[in-house]
């Protein structure tokens, strides 16, 4: 199996607050990995370290055999190979739907306007937003915004797509439409790393589940292992708490 990203001994501190400790894990090509864990356990920080929105304090991130934390590495070139979907959507407010999906392709990938628009429309269609090309972000619902954000990331045709709680800022009735799109993407063989609180979704789509607790990976395994036969005390506690809450 081809490894896309391999993380070794990753750590991250904010001041003297150690948020991530000795993280080891990797994502293989075509795999869907869900990261679960209670709030504050470091899930977002891990994701943000993976695409260098936060600078890790230590460790290695191996991508195509190279440690991208080496000083000589071009972080922009690395970032464009990774897509990111944020909890708060973060669509570019000064661009309409099509513009959001086109601007990165044109400026970063140097695609022509025609080609970029063709690619953008293809992915907007995948997320069911191709009829809204003219809309401004402020004119869309949360679910629609998030689907456009997914299309924007897909338009860059990344090696891996990272999701940080993509449905947590949505009204309950819009969660379904976004999860449905993500499920469809998982089936196409896209490599995905997803931080989520949607346990049913994680159970159903992931190849592997990672449980984080207090800045470490406390348990890792197949969905069946984690949800049906968790070994760690903390994993069991967390699942009991979250599953009861649903």
């Amino acid at each position: 199996m081809e490894t896309v990203i391999d993380i070794q001994r990753l750590s991250k501190s904010f001041g003297n607050h150690e948020v991530l400790k000795d993280i080891h894990f990797s994502v293989n090509k075509g795999e869907v990995v869900c990261i679960i864990g209670s709030s504050g356990s470091g899930k977002s920080t891990l994701l943000r370290c993976v695409n260098l929105l936060e600078k890790p304090s230590g460790g290695k991130i191996i991508y195509h055999g190279e440690n991208i934390l080496d000083d000589k590495h071009d972080i922009h070139a690395y970032r464009r190979r990774l897509g990111m979907v944020f909890q708060q959507f973060n669509l570019f407010n000064n661009h309409n739907v099509l513009g959001n999906c086109v601007i990165g392709q044109m400026k970063v990938l140097k695609r022509s306007k025609e080609e970029a628009e063709k690619v953008a429309l293809k992915y907007l269609k995948v997320v069911g937003m191709d009829r809204f090309v003219n809309a401004k972000p402020r004119q869309l619902s949360g679910g629609q915004k998030q689907r456009v954000a997914i299309a924007r990331a897909l338009s860059m045709e990344p090696d891996v797509l990272l999701f940080d709680e993509p449905t947590s800022a949505l009204d309950p009735e819009m969660v379904g439409e976004v999860l449905k799109v993500m499920k469809e993407l998982a089936e196409t063989g896209l490599t995905m790393l997803i931080v989520t609180h949607e346990m049913e979704f994680a159970k159903e789509v992931s190849d592997r589940v990672v449980f984080m607790d207090k800045g470490v990976i406390a348990e890792e395994g197949s969905p069946d292992q984690i949800f049906n036969h968790p070994t760690g005390e903390r994993t069991r506690e967390f699942l009991k708490r979250t599953l009861r809450a649903i």
Partner: protein
């Protein structure tokens, strides 16, 4: 010939070229002064939002520049423009022997003044752009310059546009103080006209209307531009995929 109304007509008839020239000079100084002031403010505002590094030579340099900018902003906001005009105009003559062209002196004073106000407005405009916008741009691989050019600055410009327009209107009115350094703007011309006829009320009544027409016209123009920049309030749901691919993004309502 003692009725005010008749005098007003008469003054307009005989002096309209002077009013027109005065209005032209006023608009010119206000416009160029606002543009340069906005550029100064943009630069100062951007510099003031650069995060200061924790150590190194860059830290000291940036801190020094920031102090200079603070002094500039506080000083020009804290003194009357009419006094600044006197100091700069007569000061440059006394210190360097420059006989500045009054109109150029006027533009310089308005620009420096506007810059001091705009620096704070721009800083607010930059801070009010959500950090998520910056992160999303970084996440798709844009570098700092691309992020600024294609994502952050367009939003900053949109944010500061109303305040810039407001500053332009203030400048149209405040150029009147430049008459103290003999800039032949609207107020100066009116004083001349009034002095020639000894009809102060009538002359200043006329110029009052002219100032209002200028500022109100500018208000309308700016509103039009803002609306234009925001685009239509409604979007058009595109009905036919084939038509989108043909590049017709407009007018395919369903």
């Amino acid at each position: 010939m003692d009725l005010s109304f008749e005098w007003i007509i008469k003054i307009i008839e005989t002096n309209w070229p002077m009013f027109l020239r005065g209005a032209g000079v006023t608009l010119l100084i206000a416009l160029i002064g606002t543009i340069f002031g906005a550029l100064i403010g943009l630069l100062a505002g951007i510099i003031r939002t650069i995060p200061i590094p924790e150590r190194g030579a860059k830290k000291g340099f940036l801190k020094f520049i920031n102090i200079i900018l603070s002094v500039y902003i506080e000083f020009f906001r804290g003194t009357p423009m009419i006094v600044q005009a006197m100091v700069i105009y007569y000061g440059s003559a006394a210190a360097f022997g420059w006989q500045m062209n009054p109109i150029i002196a006027g533009v310089v004073i308005v620009a420096i003044n506007t810059g001091a106000y705009m620096a704070e407005i721009v800083r607010g405009g930059i801070i009010s752009v959500d950090t998520g916008q910056y992160e999303a741009a970084q996440a798709i691989g844009m570098n700092h310059v691309q992020t600024m050019t294609h994502v952050v600055m367009p939003q900053v410009i949109r944010n500061i546009l109303p305040a810039t327009g407001n500053q332009f209107i203030i400048n149209i009115k405040d150029t009147a103080v430049l008459s103290v350094i003999s800039v032949t703007e609207l107020f100066f011309q009116t004083k001349t006209v009034a002095g020639n006829n000894f009809r102060y009320f009538e002359a200043f009544f006329i110029v009052c209307i002219i100032y209002f027409i200028l500022t109100y016209a500018v208000t309308l123009i700016l509103r039009y531009f803002e609306r234009k920049l925001d685009g239509p309030d409604n979007y058009i749901v595109v009905g036919n995929q084939a038509q989108i691919e043909a590049g017709e993004h407009k007018g395919i309502g369903q």
